[in-house]
């Protein structure tokens, strides 16, 4: 009898032990938590990692629905934090003393801190960065080097882009506006959006499809159904490995530069684990592994030594020094603009 009691007690204890096994749930983009690194982290810390894939818009909606609960860590883009935070309060201010600042490229850490400043507190640290530009199949569309190729009659039915806000911004630049300068002027911004929607609707017959899924786009570029597309740089570089005529091209109007961050939702449960993961991911060897796998550069200081040579050459090929200087970095988006943009996007999609 006593044995049974003891056994049950033990069983209960061990079970509750399992239940308490620490977990860290991360809301992130596809590819941002490579399995090898997740395994390594679990081995080092004993913390189980749960990953949910998402994108900027869904991340905000998800956290807003739970008022910042359900996840311990999120990875929104730096320009989508401050206005969202002001309005919905879904993140908590970061405790920068828990972050090993030496791991970060100082200028980038500083920039993100400044851009996510709300009421004197900052809400994010940088993780990785990249650009949106053109992926071009130079065998079929030689010399394409401007956003304008997305509107070019020559490539009818061979063009693809997303129907999301980056496309609107790119079209703004293509039409000679400076959308970022107009952020503060709602009227002028609306006028620009109207012009853009007119252009995009007129260009609708030229587009093959509005891509929604990165892998699907890469597939249609690989099978040469699409010659020019607006997409992220790492996608172009992935394709370049198999087909050297496909590559990422920074358009002459300037590639659009984004920085994805780490931010902690306001009702995160496992703060310690979240900070551990941030510091873990920014360690040069881990960040280097991530860059080699995903072809996306990180904000980690010294990760370059751990990056595959071929991946580094990608960057040098697509970004001569002038193109780097020409990168247009997204400034924080004022909240009301996203509603205006949403309507324009609907209008374009609904147009026949």
């Amino acid at each position: 009898m006593r044995k049974i009691v003891l056994f049950t007690l033990l069983a209960v204890l061990s079970l509750s032990g399992f239940a308490q096994a620490e977990t860290l749930s991360i809301l992130t983009w596809k590819g941002y938590a490579p399995q090898a690194l997740v395994d390594k982290f679990e081995k080092e810390t004993g913390i189980k990692v749960e990953v949910t894939y998402s994108n900027n818009e869904e991340m905000i909606a998800k956290l807003r629905a739970t008022r910042g609960a359900g996840f311990d860590l999120a990875q929104p883009s730096q320009d989508r934090i401050s206005s969202v935070q002001e309005k919905y309060g879904i993140y908590q201010a970061l405790d920068y003393s828990k972050i090993e600042a030496a791991l970060f490229i100082p200028s980038m850490l500083k920039a993100v801190q400044t851009n996510t400043l709300v009421k004197g507190q900052s809400f994010a640290v940088p993780f990785c960065w990249g650009t949106s530009g053109l992926i071009v199949n130079s065998a079929k569309a030689a010399g394409a080097d401007s956003w304008k190729v997305l509107l070019d009659e020559k490539y009818k039915g061979r063009i693809s882009y997303r129907l999301k806000r980056p496309t609107l911004i790119a079209m703004g630049f293509a039409l000679g506006y400076d959308p970022f300068a107009l952020y503060s002027d709602e009227k002028a911004y609306q006028a620009m959006l109207d012009k853009i929607s007119e252009t995009l609707i007129a260009a609708k017959p030229l587009v093959k499809n509005y891509w929604a899924n990165g892998d699907a786009l890469l597939e249609s570029m690989r099978s040469e159904e699409v010659y020019v597309a607006m997409a992220w740089d790492n996608g172009g570089w992935k394709l370049h490995e198999n087909n050297s005529s496909i590559d990422f091209v920074a358009p002459k109007e300037g590639a659009l530069g984004w920085i994805d961050t780490f931010a902690i939702p306001s009702k995160a449960k496992n703060l310690d684990a979240a900070y551990k993961w941030i510091n873990f991911m920014l360690k040069p060897e881990n960040a280097g592994y991530f860059t080699t796998m995903e072809k996306t550069a990180t904000a980690s200081q010294g990760a370059n030594a751990f990056v595959d040579q071929q991946v580094r050459s990608n960057f040098e090929r697509s970004f001569p020094p002038a193109a780097i200087d020409n990168i247009k970095w997204y400034p924080p988006v004022p909240a009301q603009l996203e509603g205006m943009e949403g309507k324009i996007l609907d209008k374009v999609k609904a147009a026949q």
Binding site: K87, K204, A212, S223, E224, E338, G339, G342, A350
Partner: protein, 287 residues
């Protein structure tokens, strides 16, 4: 006969989980959404009561045009599904040997064991420009070069019909099973043509099945998100996508909630009109 007290209690005990389910998971969230759909922000950014979200739907042509398009396409899809499902159901119930009936139903069911996403991707692999069908058409010289079969209305409707076939076939089968063969035989004896038999005997008998199948298919298609989005491509803004966009892309939950309720109301209205036109009552159909 009076129901003994204890059995009444048992009745409520069994009903309680259902009621809780309905209340917590369906009624309460809907009330929340309803409240949301009537609130908005005034110029100062404060939350107030307003009808603006509903007014937007009627004053902004993009919105009601999208709804109209969605509704019309849903009706077309329902019709096509019915036309395809009717012979299939008839074949399964009346023509095929009883032993094979189960196998045939199984074959209808099988595709539904994988998720809709997988099925739609399957179609996309077949139909895309570098896809299987184009490959064979070019190989056999029927086409000079591959054409894009995806991203148009016809493909989208085909996809929708495919995903909703089952929901039409099953009610039709159950309605048709009760049809006495001797009625059809008698009609033959009296010299009526096949058209007359279909028109005067089979269709009227299956009416409840047709109606309930149509309602299910119509609602499923109207509320579909995946198929129009993936197969319809650039020209197919479905109303559900508009709701999604309001919630996710524009952060305008109030507008999204209003659209959700308008979808509910307008689709109920369409079904009500459909029932009136076919002179049926919802109660009869459901039984």
């Amino acid at each position: 006969m009076a129901v003994p007290r204890s059995s009444k209690m048992v009745f409520w005990m069994f009903l309680a989980p259902v009621l809780c389910w309905l209340l917590l998971l369906i009624v309460l969230p809907h009330i929340d959404l309803l409240v949301m759909s009537f609130s908005g922000e005034n110029d100062l950014g404060k939350s107030t009561w307003t009808l603006q979200n509903y007014r937007n739907f009627f004053t902004e042509p993009i919105y009601w045009n999208t709804f109209l398009r969605t509704a019309v396409f849903s009706i077309i899809t329902t019709l096509i599904t019915f036309l395809l499902a009717m012979p299939v159901a008839f074949y399964i119930v009346k023509v095929v040997r009883p032993r094979l009936q189960g196998a045939m139903l199984m074959m209808l069911l099988l595709p539904f064991w994988v998720s809709e996403l997988v099925r739609v991707y399957g179609w996309m692999i077949l139909l895309r420009e570098s896809g299987v069908i184009n490959h064979f058409l070019v190989k056999f010289g029927l086409l000079e070069r591959p054409i894009e079969m995806l991203y148009n209305d016809a493909t989208m409707i085909m996809g929708l019909v495919y995903t909703s076939m089952l929901f039409m076939v099953v009610p039709l089968i159950s309605a048709m099973e009760s049809l006495d063969d001797s009625l059809v035989e008698a009609a033959y004896d009296l010299g009526s043509s096949k058209t007359v038999i279909w028109w005067k005997i089979i269709l009227p008998h299956c009416k409840p099945g047709i109606t309930s199948g149509s309602i299910v298919v119509f609602m499923l298609v109207l509320g579909n998100y995946l198929t129009p989005n993936l197969m319809g491509g650039k020209n197919s803004l479905w109303f559900t996508e508009q709701i999604y966009n309001q919630f996710i892309a524009s952060f305008n939950w109030n507008q999204g909630a209003a659209f959700g309720f308008l979808l509910l109301l307008l689709s109920s209205l369409i079904i009500w009109i459909g029932l009136k036109l076919s002179r049926q009552k919802l109660g009869e159909v459901a039984s």
